[in-house]
């Protein structure tokens, strides 16, 4: 008796792991070659994994819902005869080309964010099973030449949908599989060649120009720091509960504004506009905080003026008011200009780190990343803490890394011990 380990084969280009969505076998089942073992779902498609050999299932590598890395053991089979036992490589394991790395995340998700521009047409939904169903045990139909080509490229033909008569796998099907990974043969994704031209006008063009200007002129440095906001969140919840009826609901933003106002009071170089044509940095005493806001028309940045002179409810009310006006398009030019430093936050979309683009001609921008409960070591054990990263960019022409780091550490300190936001010391 031998043992055969079926590994999760490479189910598509660039796919590193897949979620187990269905087991087709249970321990003790006797299965034939090509019987389906499991279905796994990648971000692209559901893929059925057939057994390369005949045998008895003696072990299953996970439960439904588990995310299984490509190449990890999926099923152990007891096979007849030891001859084939050590052979554990699934047929589809080797891919001809290494999976290309995913495209780099879009720069500065904040300011550019999602715009009302016509995006490239989204790929058709791929929820349906990508592999044309074959009766269990039935081998894929393909000419010897296609079979050889598949073998030489390390492709398991059982995963390739056939578009030919009777479901025959053609050279084109194989090429398509190589290019796109598993796909549904009929009614599924097809190669599309159309190109949609979208004219960049209005606000979009202004954003484009401003981003280009910022990125061309400003050598950005970005610092990402994690912040424990457990105490701040407790405070915020308590305040919201206490003043639920009569005061605006507090988000994290007013606290951050207050922290920035405090920090720049100690580091005025960060609350400044750099007139690079004139070679002058103008440090402002007033802290006018731009808040990058997504609107149907695109990204705009309403400005909370004199944050240094507002309490948190005042800030909250002003942010809410400006956001409202920005979204319905009634914000005045004055309300949309005059910032000296900017906050960008995508809320739940905020990722773990971002590389914010400075709102030219300012010299600093503070990016808020997603808050999440993470296990933190408190010296004796792991405790759940609400953690949030801040990703902040600085104009390295006028702000050195040291000053930037000091600023970020100060923000961290203020947010982690929110009492410091309110005591004058």
């Amino acid at each position: 008796m031998g043992e055969h380990v079926v590994k999760l084969p490479d189910v598509g280009e660039g796919v590193a792991e897949a979620e187990l969505v269905e087991w087709h076998v249970k321990i003790g089942d006797l299965i034939r070659e090509d019987d389906l073992l499991a279905s796994v779902m990648t971000d692209k498609a559901t893929v059925e994994i057939p057994s390369p050999v005949e045998g008895e299932v003696i072990w299953r590598g996970g439960e439904i819902g588990d995310v299984v890395p490509i190449g990890s053991a999926l099923v152990r089979l007891k096979t007849a005869g030891g001859a084939t036992a050590p052979e554990t490589k699934p047929e589809a394991e080797t891919k001809p080309e290494p999976a290309k790395s995913a495209p780099a995340p879009a720069e500065a998700p904040q300011p550019v964010a999602r715009a009302p521009m016509l995006e490239a047409p989204p790929p058709p939904p791929r929820r349906e099973p990508p592999v044309q169903r074959r009766a269990p045990g039935e081998r894929p139909i393909a000419s010897p030449a296609v079979r050889l080509a598949a073998r030489e490229r390390g492709v398991d033909l059982r995963q390739v949908a056939g578009t030919g008569p009777a479901g025959r796998v053609t050279h084109d099907d194989l090429a398509g599989f190589m290019a796109r990974g598993p796909a549904l043969a009929r009614g599924g994704p097809v190669q599309r060649t159309e190109v949609t031209e979208v004219k960049i006008v209005g606000l979009r063009r202004r954003i484009a120009e401003k981003m280009a200007l910022a990125k061309q002129r400003i050598p950005h440095i970005t610092i990402v720091e994690e912040t424990d906001v457990t105490a701040l969140e407790e405070l915020r919840a308590a305040l919201n509960k206490r003043h639920a009826a009569e005061r605006p609901r507090l988000t994290l933003l007013p606290f951050l504004m207050r922290a920035i106002a405090r920090a720049v009071a100690e580091q005025p170089a960060l609350n400044a506009l750099f007139d690079d044509d004139a070679g002058i940095v103008r440090q402002h005493a007033g802290v006018h905080i731009g808040v990058a806001t997504q609107t149907p028309a695109g990204l705009i940045v309403p400005v909370v003026k004199h944050a240094e002179a507002r309490d948190i409810w005042d800030c909250a009310a002003e942010v809410a008011r400006l956001a409202e006006r920005a979204r319905d398009g009634t914000a005045t030019r004055d309300e949309l200009s005059g910032s000296t430093i900017t906050i960008t936050s995508l809320g739940p979309l905020g990722a773990i780190a971002t590389t914010p683009v400075i709102n030219y001609p300012e010299v600093a921008i503070v990016g808020v990343n997603r808050m999440a409960v993470r296990p933190m070591w408190d010296g004796t054990g792991f405790v759940p803490r609400k953690m949030m990263n801040l990703s902040s960019s600085f104009d390295h022409r006028v702000i050195d890394g040291w000053d930037a780091a000091v600023f970020v550490q100060r923000l961290k300190e203020l947010l982690e011990t929110p009492a410091l936001l309110f005591v004058d010391a």
């Binding site: 005869g81 030891g82 001859a83 000419s143 010897p144 009777a166």
Partner: protein, 463 residues
């Protein structure tokens, strides 16, 4: 002791072994092949080729006999024909010799070193060969066992004297007056029918209820009919018991003892793997019954040792061995290969011939599949009529849903040549529409393949 070191050592130069060695040589693998007999193995020396030669002799002679008997439908006549069997055998031997030489040339051209002698394993990487010039030790990275098969001997009918195997049957000095054939499989029937045509009184003794038990009755029917016409007596359900002077003793289906007069007793009850004398006991390979167990890459249970051909079991066919040999050579050269053939066509060179590729209707249905079957009789074929060969048919088996061709069988004169079309259709994943939509040249027997496909689709044109 002389020592040879190589990358690939092939034991046995039959169709599996020599193809393996040639392909390996082509791929630049340093290869040695060991053969104790003549190059070409059973197939070339005492199997496929010589038997087909003798069957051809018998066919030609049969034409003359028919004419001499005044039975020629073409109005031909002849005086009493005679046969110098020695001359026919010499002609056959000349063909075999030419092919032997041809294989040697091909091996040389592929730069394969040929060592003559019996190979014996010392361990999984070392083989010793007793050659005419002394023992040679060969050490190889991988070894391919392609030692073939030998005729099965019955303990109560040991080979020798008048009890012969297929090997001797191909080199008799005269046509036996009475020939008893034990075993109604394809070898016995091919040779039995040939000797019947050459003038022997042939009796076939088959233990099972019918001849050619591997093929369905629809296919074997025309063969049984023709055997009866040739005067071959077929005793099914009968068992051979032993030999007496000038007779074969049997027990009939009814349980009666009977003696069948026989000058020669041809025993064709199957072939057994040639695994003795190789020192295989040194290796303790996993076996599959008497055969060496292999996986889909023809690898045995021991790393670095592959086995191909008859020694690995049924179907014991030269073309299977050749395909395995080619694959193993490519694997030895580091190419990604595995056995993924869809069908191994099989031919019975009886009169008429039988071809089977893929699944029969019964086999296809046994898998729980719904099938469409189309049969076109040669009676409706102009070419068959013009050859005076109207017996038989082509039968196509396809899946009912997608019309995928699952199997093709035929019985008829000369249908062996259709096996290529049948095999190609299945290997390419053809559908009935593909066959029906291909222009088949007229007038040929092959048109029957197209018509059978049309029939399965419900619109045959000529029936």
């Amino acid at each position: 002791m002389d020592e040879i070191v190589c990358r690939l050592l092939v034991i046995g130069a039959g169709p599996g072994g020599y193809v393996c060695a040639i392909r390996a040589g082509q791929l630049g693998v340093d290869t040695v092949i060991v053969e104790q007999g003549r190059l070409g193995g059973t197939c070339l020396n005492v199997g496929c080729i010589p038997s087909k030669a003798m069957i051809h002799v018998a066919e030609e002679f049969e034409v003359l006999k028919t004419a001499a008997a005044g039975k020629s439908v073409f109005g031909m006549s002849a005086t009493k024909p005679t046969l110098d069997l020695g001359k026919a055998v010499a002609w056959k031997d000349e063909i075999v010799h030419r092919l032997n030489t041809g294989v040697a040339g091909l091996l040389r051209r592929a730069r394969v070193k040929i060592v003559h002698g019996q190979a014996q394993f010392r361990d999984g990487k070392t083989v010793e060969v007793e050659t005419e010039t002394g023992p040679v030790r060969i050490r190889a990275e991988s070894v391919v066992i392609a030692s073939g098969s030998v005729p099965v001997e019955l303990p109560f009918l040991p080979f020798g004297g008048d009890v012969i195997s297929s090997t001797e049957a191909l080199s008799l000095s005269e046509v036996p007056k009475r020939l008893a054939v034990v075993g109604g499989g394809y070898i016995g029937l091919e040779l039995g029918a040939a000797y019947a045509k050459l003038g022997s009184k042939v009796t076939v003794v088959e233990a099972r209820p019918r001849i050619l038990p591997l093929y369905d009755e629809e296919l074997t029917g025309p063969v049984a009919k023709r055997l009866a016409e040739l005067g071959v007596e077929v005793l099914t359900g009968a068992r051979a018991k032993g030999a007496a002077v000038g007779a074969l003793q049997i027990e009939t289906a009814e349980g009666e003892a009977r003696a069948i007069g026989a000058d020669k007793i041809l025993v064709t009850v199957g072939r057994a793997p040639a695994t003795t004398g190789l020192g295989l006991e040194e290796l303790v390979l996993d076996m599959d019954g008497r055969f060496i167990r292999i996986d889909d890459k023809c690898q045995t249970s021991m790393r670095g040792i592959s086995a191909i051909g008859d020694v690995t079991g049924e179907p014991m066919l030269a073309h299977r061995a050749m395909a395995q040999g080619e694959m193993v050579a490519e694997i030895a050269a580091g190419l990604p290969r595995a056995w993924d053939k869809r069908c191994i066509p099989a031919i019975v060179f009886t009169d008429p011939e039988i071809v089977s590729a893929g699944l029969s209707p019964a086999e296809a249905r046994a898998g729980g599949r719904e099938v469409k079957v189309g049969l076109f009789p040669f009676q409706a074929s102009g070419r068959a009529m013009s050859k005076h060969a109207e017996r038989g048919f082509v039968r196509v088996v396809a899946s009912a849903d997608r019309h995928l061709v699952l199997g093709v069988q035929a019985v008829g004169q000369g249908v062996s040549e259709l096996s290529t079309a049948f095999g190609l259709a299945i290997e390419m994943g053809a559908t009935l529409e593909d066959i029906a939509g291909t222009i088949h040249a007229h007038p040929t027997l092959g048109e029957a393949f197209q018509e059978a496909s049309l029939k399965a689709l419900g619109h045959a044109l000529h029936i």
